[in-house]
Symmetry: C2
Subunit: 206 residues, 2 copies
């Protein structure tokens, strides 16, 4: 039932776009023709350090992460992308340069992918997508700015609380190691934070 799966995947992307700006029948067909469904198995690379990021990916089902491995071998997660999120290394994609980042699947993941060339041709065929993608990146920018602000102004505990508030689903779905690598703290310390929260909401001084 490959066809059925693909159909369902595209439907979710069409619905996603429709929530931003209503699409005409022609535009929907354009989306269907330009985006290709693809399955990544758990632990499979979507993008590997040193390669050019050739596609933009829309996650239909599952979850991926984008991360950097520093010179000490530690993993730092820049972004998770679960259902209805986009992922791609914009710098590598646009400048067609090798990426310093990795993207891989945390769960079996179905994406819709579009290549650089197909994206350009999509813009030309339907300029509306020019605006759609501008709005998307603006939203991403605003989100990222909020996260940075939070990062320079809050303790690890506040950052974790904020993560739980903003992504309650992910908190259950991801291992502690992943979340710690996203927050920029050690897994051990995250464990302590969690236990602190559950055990002593506000201990009076006896």
């Amino acid at each position: 039932m490959e066809v059925a799966v693909s159909q369902a995947a595209v439907e979710s992307l069409l619905a996603y776009f429709g929530r931003l700006i209503p699409l005409t029948k022609e535009e929907k067909e354009l989306v269907t023709s330009k985006f290709q469904p693809r399955l990544f198995r758990k632990r499979q690379f979507v993008l590997q350090e040193g390669n050019v990021c050739t596609h933009i990916y829309f996650v239909v089902r599952g979850c991926v992460r984008m991360y950097k491995i520093d010179n000490k071998g530690y993993t730092h997660i820049i972004q998770f992308a679960a259902e209805n999120y986009w992922i791609n290394d914009l710098g590598s994609f646009h400048n067609v340069t090798p990426s310093a980042l990795n993207i891989d699947a945390i769960e079996d993941t179905v994406v819709l992918q579009i290549s650089h060339a197909d994206l350009i041709s999509l813009y030309i065929a339907a300029p509306k997508f020019d605006r759609i993608f501008r709005v998307l990146i603006e939203k991403s920018f605003i989100q990222l700015q909020k996260r940075l602000l939070h990062n320079i102004s809050s303790t690890a505990e506040e950052r974790y609380q904020s993560f739980v508030d903003v992504y309650p689903q992910l908190n259950n779905r991801l291992s502690q190691v992943q979340i710690a690598a996203f927050l920029g703290i050690t897994p051990e310390f995250l464990s302590r934070l969690r236990n602190r929260r559950s055990k002593a909401p506000k201990p009076p001084k006896d």
Copy 2:
């Protein structure tokens, strides 16, 4: 000599755009008519918390900062903008909602500003600017992502070193308090970092 000053201001913006994509004479005139020069004196607000960010600003001369004041009264600087940088609260500007951020001048500053309505009309009159501003925001996004990554993966010392490398001019121009508020550390600690660097490049163990 108001006219001369304005003329010089616009020239620097035209040169800036020209470095991205060559402009026709008509497009240059469009820029000249849509962007207005404006002087902000040192300490003057460009945007104040609670107000809508109504313009995008291009800094011709001087330096401004965008920051948030947290609930404990501490200042956290999201971005500096000196010559040939843009500043604006994108979220507030696009959604026409009150901003949680402040922008003010660190030095006497000359900007070129464009209103939301004029920006839209610029896009309509010359679609090329659609692409120009998309590229600009993409670059900003990439920069911001790098900074976030650096923030979650580096010590204060490494972050300061990176700041000095990326913005060598600003390091001399800004007070220690401002730089500390940008890096997310205390001014006292930045003082110690600086002295450490200059005094003991690598002290051997006796």
